[in-house]
């Protein structure tokens, strides 16, 4: 366990207003994740695990409680501040890869650097190439996402998540749309990233993969078990 917590959720409550009245999705959840940890979040559908992930990425805001990630209290940030903070601090990996279809693989990886202006413009292309080489996609750099396989798209999405060299990577079912062999490769990549100092929090339904993570957080009925 690393000494400094990178994620600190304290007494998080999340309610949604519905036609049938308020629905509580997270009930007084507290969670601390240290720097360099590899955490798998598991739980049945509707248990609140994706909402939990959304809290720490700033994609959603809590009804109550505090969210502090990488030293920043997210409750106080505006949407624009949140976007820029997220771009620099977090790498988000989605289940369906979500690469922009009109940009090449290389350009998709450069995009976060453009948005957050984290590297000099002249250095972005080289960095993106390096990241693609790191995930084994150097030869696919100039293809559009539609021209490569699902596994390659997800590796490209991981390279994109690493673009601004964030300390924290968050995946929402990142292997959920991949076959088991490709999922293994992606998991190995995650493990390698953690070994090199990244913190990784990943929601998964895959029990086998979850079991291979050093730390597993179980969510059920809006609470951490």
């Amino acid at each position: 366990m690393a000494a400094q917590p990178i994620i600190s959720l304290s007494h998080i409550v999340k309610e949604y207003a519905t036609g049938a009245g308020p629905v509580t999705v997270l009930r007084d959840v507290s969670l601390t994740v240290g720097g360099g940890e590899f955490v798998a979040v598991v739980g049945p559908s509707g248990s609140g695990k994706s909402t939990l992930i959304n809290m720490l990425t700033g994609i959603d805001r809590p009804t109550g409680g505090d969210v502090v990630v990488a030293g920043t209290r997210l409750n106080d940030l505006s949407e624009n501040q949140m976007a820029r903070w997220r771009g620099r601090t977090l790498g988000v990996i989605f289940q369906f890869f979500q690469l922009l279809p009109t940009l090449t693989i290389l350009e998709n990886v450069m995009l976060p650097m453009d948005f957050c202006n984290t590297y000099p413009a002249s250095a972005r292309r080289g960095r993106a190439r390096d990241l693609l080489a790191q995930v084994g996609l150097a030869d696919q750099a100039h293809k559009l996402p539609g021209a490569v396989s699902g596994g390659q798209q997800q590796r490209a999405a991981i390279a994109r998540a690493l673009a601004n060299d964030p300390p924290l990577l968050v995946g929402d079912e990142p292997t959920g749309n991949l076959d088991s062999k490709t999922a293994d490769q992606v998991f190995a990549l995650f493990a390698d990233l953690v070994a090199h100092g990244k913190t990784l929090v990943m929601v998964t339904h895959d029990r086998e993969l979850a079991a291979r993570a050093p730390r597993v957080v179980r969510v059920q009925d809006g609470q951490i078990q």
């Binding site: 820029r84 369906f96 979500q98 009109t102 940009l103 453009d114």
Partner: protein, 820 residues
């Protein structure tokens, strides 16, 4: 199945209500299309209907007879007994000069004396006060235009002895107001006549086109002005159109037996308004624009509905998984599409009716016509219903059919971001373009992401731009043509008419004594009647000038110009050659009026000249002198100056007039070249204004089409926006991407517009030329129009993206990512 459809109807209603912003967007897209078509149809319908009813209400004549020396009222009344004659109306029509104060310049005024203003039966002139009373229904107003009793009339109608009533469109030409005094100079000397009211005359073109204002007086006043009370223009209405020729012949015969010389008999079509020529062009253009607008509406609606169906594919898959067959899906979504169409039509119909009426009122004002009170146009409503309900269904046909036939597996598969895969030829080509900033690369490639949608938007906006540039090109072509024809043809700067004949050898040197007068020539002008070989008589302006004229340069279309040795040669205007089939070698008879003998001429040339509604004919000055038995005499002088701008023309003309009058030559009136040009172009300006309004509307439809496309793109790419926000894009970056995309589409449409504008401008220029001057215009492409449209299309592109882009930037990341 019935239960399934009932459930689907409930789903349709809830979908419409639950996605209110999308419902409104689609309905507005339909509404814009319906608005464009509906407005044009409403304008056309109301204008043609009201024009016909208003004109019919003045009881237009079938026959017009000119008797220069005038007919007594008793002899006029005798014509009523002729078989087939339904009504007879006489007028004394003469010209004088008029001005409002001693300081203002004289201008030619046409004065009309009516025997009894309250008992008109043909070509009724109406007092404005009574005329402007609104009628509850069009049919109620027909026949009520002219008051039948004195109580209905304006208090000052008919004008009493010593008063004048001005035709309402002439008031501005005179620069007068009711209550002013008009000083009229005719055969009886200068007489001061107070302007006591306005009248509305519909049997002639408006004053601006005619070239001089029109005023009405009583016969008593005419006795004072002219010294007699006879009428020189007789209007006859036949009991039916079939009797028109018989009535004309019988009336001519009766008058000639009574000892009168009939100079001209003109057969009229009571259904053809005097401005029918220009209206025919307007209606033709409206028809073209209506069809164009219909096509644009179709594209707009197709775009919107296609996108909508694409969005619904997942739900279609779910329904099919639950047992819905293709037919049920088609019925269900057909109902949705109809609901959008109905909503759009309900939004557009009242707006189109109102704006259509306003546009019709504007055009009617240009030709001195009053519309009947506002009402709906049934034709426009029917077309709008057809377009509003039919076009969305047709537009939705292909995507609905494809959607309904999709397999469940295909439908519910989630391919990720949506909004088009972006994997098409254009995207692949553009992906090779390196070096662009990512945000702009995204904007550029997103623009071509859904090629069908892009194509329809480009066509819509491109056609709007092409129409805009083509209209400006038509305008510049017309100006060039008029300049070429008039400045090339008329070398003079001003025309000076004397009160009585002057010696040329005296007045020409007097004028040329002015330091800024380059040259002066004597010219002869006279309204005349020309009888053609076919027997038809037409009104012409007979002109004669020196054989070695420096001023007039004929634009000969066939034959040759006049020769001093010609004794009976005549050059006719191309208009008569085209319309009446006059050919070289034909013999025509020219009646110069008064006691002058008829003169026969052989057509030796066909000339094009736009002045005086293209009625000019030319004879040699020498032949005219022989006919008039005179030498070294003229009533008019043309002068050319060393400076040709309007200010100089006006100033020098005033100075020359002062010099001539100081020399004893009393000047009756003057006209500068700019006034002649205005007279030629005034009708045409109506068309240009109309075309510019229409092209503006086409651009608006294109702009809204672009906004619709951008809004759909934002909806479809909500998830993508969420992803970009998740990887660090702030609101500014999102706005820039969508704004950039909109500007890219606008610029692509600009290229298309420029390409399309060339053939369209040629077509429009040719059509307008043939309609107005019976010859293609000298084509002048409006290069400046490209610049104007570029500026406009960038504004449209920016305006069209503002709301969708801000909407995109305002989406929360969670909402974006959860969007389906």
């Amino acid at each position: 199945m019935i239960h399934a459809l009932r459930t689907l109807r409930i789903k349709t209603c809830r979908d419409l209500w639950g996605n209110r912003s999308r419902t409104l967007l689609v309905a507005l897209s339909v509404a814009i299309g319906v608005l464009g078509v509906g407005m044009i149809i409403a304008t056309w319908d109301i204008l043609t209907h009201d024009l016909a009813r208003r004109y019919a209400a003045i009881q237009p004549a079938h026959v017009e007879i000119s008797v220069p020396q005038g007919v007594t009222l008793d002899d006029l009344a005798g014509l009523e007994t002729l078989p087939g004659v339904a009504a007879v109306q006489g007028r004394a029509v003469f010209t004088g000069r008029g001005r409002l104060t001693e300081d203002t310049a004289w201008q030619t005024v046409e004065i009309i004396a009516l025997p009894d203003g309250n008992a008109q039966t043909v070509n009724v002139v109406a007092p404005v006060a009574a005329y402007s009373k609104p009628s509850a229904h069009p049919s109620a107003a027909v026949g009520a235009v002219m008051p039948t009793s004195a109580q209905d009339a304006s208090p000052n109608w008919p004008p009493a002895r010593g008063q004048v009533i001005v035709e309402r469109a002439s008031l501005a030409e005179l620069g007068a107001a009711t209550g002013d005094t008009l000083y009229v100079d005719t055969a009886g000397g200068v007489v001061a006549l107070p302007i006591v009211g306005l009248a509305h005359q519909q049997d002639d073109v408006v004053a601006a086109v005619k070239g001089n204002p029109v005023a009405f007086v009583s016969l008593d006043t005419m006795v004072r002005l002219q010294g007699h009370d006879r009428v020189n223009t007789i209007y006859l209405r036949a009991e039916g159109a079939a009797q028109r020729n018989d009535v004309a012949e019988a009336a001519r015969d009766r008058l000639e037996r009574a000892g009168y010389t009939v100079s001209r008999v003109t057969l009229r079509d009571p259904a053809a308004h005097p401005a029918q020529d220009v209206l025919d062009v307007l209606l033709l253009v409206m028809g073209i624009l209506g069809a164009l607008s219909l096509a644009l509406s179709g594209f707009l609606v197709t775009n919107t509905i296609s996108a909508l169906v694409t969005q619904q594919i997942r739900q279609i898959g779910v329904m099919k998984a639950l047992g819905a067959d293709t037919w049920i899906v088609l019925r269900a979504y057909g109902l949705t599409v109809l609901a959008y169409g109905l909503l759009g039509t309900l939004i557009a119909a009242p707006l189109a009716s109102r704006t259509g009426y306003r546009l019709a009122a504007f055009l009617a004002g240009q030709i001195n016509l009053d519309l009947f009170p506002y009402r709906l146009s049934p034709t426009a409503l029917a077309v709008m219903a057809g377009v509003g309900l039919g076009v969305p269904l047709v537009a939705a046909g292909k995507p609905l059919w494809q959607g309904a036939r999709i397999t469940v597996r295909q439908a519910i598969a989630d391919y990720g971001l949506g909004g088009g895969s972006g994997d098409n030829v254009m995207s692949r080509v553009l992906a090779k373009v390196q070096g662009l900033p990512r945000v702009w690369a995204l904007a550029l490639r997103n623009a071509v992401r859904v090629p069908d949608r892009l194509a329809l938007t480009l066509i819509t906006l491109g056609l709007g731009g092409a129409t805009f540039i083509a209209v400006l090109s038509t305008d510049s072509s017309f100006s060039r043509t008029v300049d070429n024809l008039m400045e090339g043809q008329y070398g003079m700067d001003a025309l000076i008419a004397f009160g009585q004949e002057q010696r040329i050898s005296r007045v020409a040197p007097l004028a040329e004594a002015h330091g800024e007068v380059a040259h002066a020539e004597a010219w002869y002008f006279s309204q005349a009647s020309m009888k053609l070989a076919s027997g038809q008589e037409v009104l012409v302006l007979a002109q004669a000038g020196p054989a070695d004229t420096q001023f007039y340069h004929p634009n000969l279309q066939a034959g040759r110009w006049l020769d001093p040795a010609d004794s009976n040669a005549i050059v006719v205007n191309r208009k008569w050659a085209t319309q009446e089939g006059v050919q070289l070698g034909d013999t025509v008879t020219l009646d110069l009026g008064g006691d002058l003998p008829l003169t026969e001429g052989v057509v030796v040339g066909i000339n094009q000249d736009l002045v005086q509604k293209q009625t000019g004919v030319f004879v040699s000055f020498e032949a005219l002198d022989r006919l008039l038995k005179r030498t070294d005499r003229t009533i008019t002088l043309e002068v050319a100056y060393t400076r040709h701008d309007a200010e100089a023309q006006t100033r020098i003309t005033g100075e020359v007039v002062a010099m001539l009058e100081a020399g004893g030559a009393e000047v009756f009136s003057t006209q500068i070249l700019g006034q002649l040009k205005r007279q030629v172009t005034s009708f045409y300006r109506i068309l240009v204004v109309f075309l510019l309004v229409m092209s503006g509307l086409t651009a608006l439809v294109g702009g809204i089409g672009l906004m619709g496309m951008m809004s759909i793109n934002v909806l479809e790419r909500s998830k993508e926006i969420g992803v970009m926000r998740a990887i660090g894009a702030d609101a500014r970056a999102i706005v820039t991407i969508f704004w950039g995309e909109s500007v890219v589409v606008a610029l692509l449409s600009f290229i298309l517009a420029v390409l399309l504008s060339v053939p369209l401008a040629h077509l429009l220029t040719r059509a307008v030329g043939m309609a107005f001057i019976q010859t293609p215009l000298d084509f002048a492409y409006a290069i400046a129009g490209i610049g104007y449209w570029l500026a406009l299309v960038l504004v449209i592109g920016t305006a069209a993206s503002i709301l969708p882009a801000l909407n995109a930037a305002g989406l929360s990341v969670r909402e974006s990512l959860s969007y389906e």
